[in-house]
Symmetry: C2
Subunit: 205 residues, 2 copies
């Protein structure tokens, strides 16, 4: 097994399996099958077996998967068997909503610092956070060794903030600004733009 | 050309092209090339030419694409040459942020009604909206002919709300709840779960 060679499309499905398995585990289930998991996530059982087999032998046909074991393995593969510290940049409505979002708990992430370039926002409290000045961002990220950032700044500011994130050593950006970012291919960007997601569906209406 | 046969993966890229072309147009550009567009969106020029050619002959090698013409065509293909009325269900932090989000303007969507099942929220104002009672949701959606909904309710409520949305005739759901929905294949669901997007990137760290 060479992890580097696993296609990105498979990696993309693993977090969905992980989320479903976590819910099964939370509801007290101990074992599952590719059929059952498939129905939960809307992916065929054959596809699930194929995806999971890329990483080794996790279950046997007929006996199913141990949920705890599979959870453990998937968390290890996705490297969310730890807590990643995350920086949030941009304190608009979306930034505030993310700062207060409870959905990162137990999924491998914790926001630890929040920045904005608007001096009237710097020093503001959002729950347990104090908004910090963007001017100090590069230094702060570097000294904390932050590798992951969420970008909730306006589109016109996104590229220049992203450039600073790279300078600070960030390797993964979750970009909420509605614009494609130019980054070297050693850096990963994921995009969340609700209009893009909606437009993917209107085609079928 | 048979629009029904265009692979979903191509449809998924068209909104990204549309967004980039819109930005080019906003900045006063009149024509572009697959190279230039490719650099903006991080997709190869060859892939872009191939994707666009699925829908007909939009440009000629060497002369490039008319941005206005391509915008017009892409909006037509994606059916965002109109304004779709959208319902928002769930008035938490994320629901409020979406209600106030300016990024739907000019992209084909307008939130027109907001629901919550919490009686203490019903009647509240969020900008120009008044939160309505979920109990009236099915009737309201039906009579307004709403086909698109955004779901920002807790995970444990998402499936039952989705079932009601289908009952009301909704065909496209943008689901912010961190759970996979069970829907018939005549209905499209897109998922926004920041933890899933982050987990897609940690694998590469």
């Amino acid at each position: 097994m060479n992890a580097e060679k696993i296609p990105d499309i498979i990696i993309g499905r693993l977090p969905v399996y992980l989320r479903a398995l976590q819910r099964m585990s939370d509801s007290g289930l101990k074992t599952t099958s590719s059929q059952e998991l498939g129905e939960l996530v809307g992916i065929s059982a054959a596809q699930i077996r194929k995806d999971i087999s890329q990483f080794g032998e996790f279950g046997k046909q007929g006996t199913g998967y141990s949920i705890a074991y599979l959870l453990d393995k998937l968390r290890g593969i996705l490297k969310v068997d730890r807590i990643w510290e995350v920086a949030l940049i941009g304190v608009g409505d979306m930034g505030r909503a993310l700062a207060r979002y409870q959905g990162f708990t137990n999924r491998g992430f914790q926001i630890v610092m929040i920045f904005d370039n608007d001096k009237s926002k710097v020093g503001q409290k959002i729950d347990n956070f104090t908004v910090e000045d963007s001017e100090k961002m590069v230094e702060r990220l570097k000294s904390a060794g932050i590798k992951i950032a969420m970008l909730t700044v306006p589109a016109q500011a996104a590229q220049s903030v992203a450039d600073k994130l790279l300078q600070a050593g960030v390797k993964s950006i979750l970009n909420y600004a509605p614009i494609s970012l130019n980054v070297p291919n050693t850096v990963k960007v994921q995009y969340i733009d609700p209009s893009i997601h909606l437009q993917r569906m209107t085609y079928y209406l």
